[in-house]
């Protein structure tokens, strides 16, 4: 195995994510190549250092802090609901009735009314159009009659 290929796999080798056959090839390469072995040791050192500085426990009272935060968030949501209900109860009855009626009116005419009304045909418009079209037809016949009488010598 060449160095370029081995180095490509060192990261996965470190994470033990390579198939065993490829692992063995990497291992035998590392045994014979000092440079690649150095590169691998660098990766191991970075891993050890990272775990040393990053892996920590939060404070000893962590769960208690989570618990109080949960209680706070529960009571905050409860208070918000109460405030909404409280604000509604402060509105005068007449205004509440007006708002409710307005909403009901709007909903009725946008969602329900269109399905209740039967569509009607515009009969008068249709009749006018029909009569107008009959007036046009005599104009179409006249030029033919003139041509026929001309050819028969009467023109």
């Amino acid at each position: 195995m060449r160095c370029k290929q081995a180095r490509k796999y060192l990261s996965e080798y470190l994470d033990q994510e390579l198939p065993s056959r490829l692992c063995r090839r990497i291992e035998s390469h590392l045994e014979t190549c000092a440079d690649c072995a150095q590169e691998y040791l660098k990766l191991k050192a970075i891993r050890a250092l990272t775990r040393n500085i990053l892996i920590e426990n939060p404070g000893p009272h962590f769960y208690n802090q989570v618990s109080s935060r949960l209680r706070e968030s529960k009571s905050t949501r409860f208070v918000q609901k109460r405030r909404l209900l409280g604000a509604w109860s402060l509105i005068p009855v007449s205004t509440k009735a007006l708002v409710t009626a307005g909403l009901a009116f709007l909903l009725f005419f946008t969602l329900v009314y269109p399905h209740l009304v039967t569509p009607t045909l515009p009969i008068e418009d249709f009749q006018q159009e029909y009569v107008r079209s009959r007036d046009v037809l005599p104009w179409g016949e006249q030029p033919s009659a003139t041509i026929i009488s001309f050819h028969s010598g009467r023109g």
Partner: protein
């Protein structure tokens, strides 16, 4: 399918068992906190975000149907919270080095001490040395996608398959990001790593 113990805990929590919720929090708090710490670099922020993660877990546990591992779902919430924090939903704070102790005036002690020879220092003690600080800065300078993939892998040893589920990307992308993150870190830390090798 979720692991048996997580499944049992989740079912009990859904039934209202608070003790089971405490057990779940204690089981995952270190991992969640460490992942967030790796992403946001500030202990106070990490603490705050970690608490918020578990509050969300409790509030939305009814939406978890058990089709994936519980920790996949948990880490997704964690990552999303970190992204929200990074996108400026939180007040920007100057990043504080996690590995450099400071004196009363806030001056890092490492700059006051005579230059430490890394060869003399065991790896266990590196949280208080310049190398730890450099590594922290190097991790922080990684592009966001590389950073979260790298941090997730180094904290929890998840397989590439599990990581692809958490991060919502193909396994090939996970492999590629880890490779690139490590190459970048190797480059940035090269002088320090060379010194350690000579030891």
């Amino acid at each position: 399918m979720a692991s048996t113990s997580d499944t049992v805990l989740v079912d009990r929590i859904k039934s209202g068992d608070e003790k089971s919720f405490q057990e779940l929090v204690e089981k995952y708090q270190a991992r969640v906190y460490s992942i967030i710490l790796g992403m946001v670099q500030d202990k106070n922020d990490a603490d705050d975000i970690a608490q918020e993660v578990f509050v969300r877990v409790y509030r939305f546990l009814h939406t978890f149907r058990g089709k994936s591992q519980f920790y996949t779902w948990l880490y997704r919430i964690t990552m999303n919270m970190c992204i929200n924090a990074k996108n400026g939903h939180r007040r920007e704070k100057p990043s504080v080095s996690l590995s450099e102790p400071v004196d009363d005036r806030g001056t890092p002690l490492g700059s006051l001490l005579p230059s430490q020879d890394p060869l003399q220092l065991p790896l266990d003690n590196l949280t208080n040395t310049e190398l730890g600080g450099r590594l922290q800065a190097a991790i922080n300078s990684l592009p966001s996608d590389l950073k979260k993939t790298f941090v997730l892998r180094e904290i929890d040893d998840l397989s590439y398959r599990e990581m692809s589920r958490v991060l919502g990307c193909p396994q090939g992308t996970v492999k590629s990001r880890l490779f690139r993150a490590r190459e970048e870190l190797k480059q940035k830390l090269s002088p320090y790593l060379n010194l350690l090798e000579e030891k």
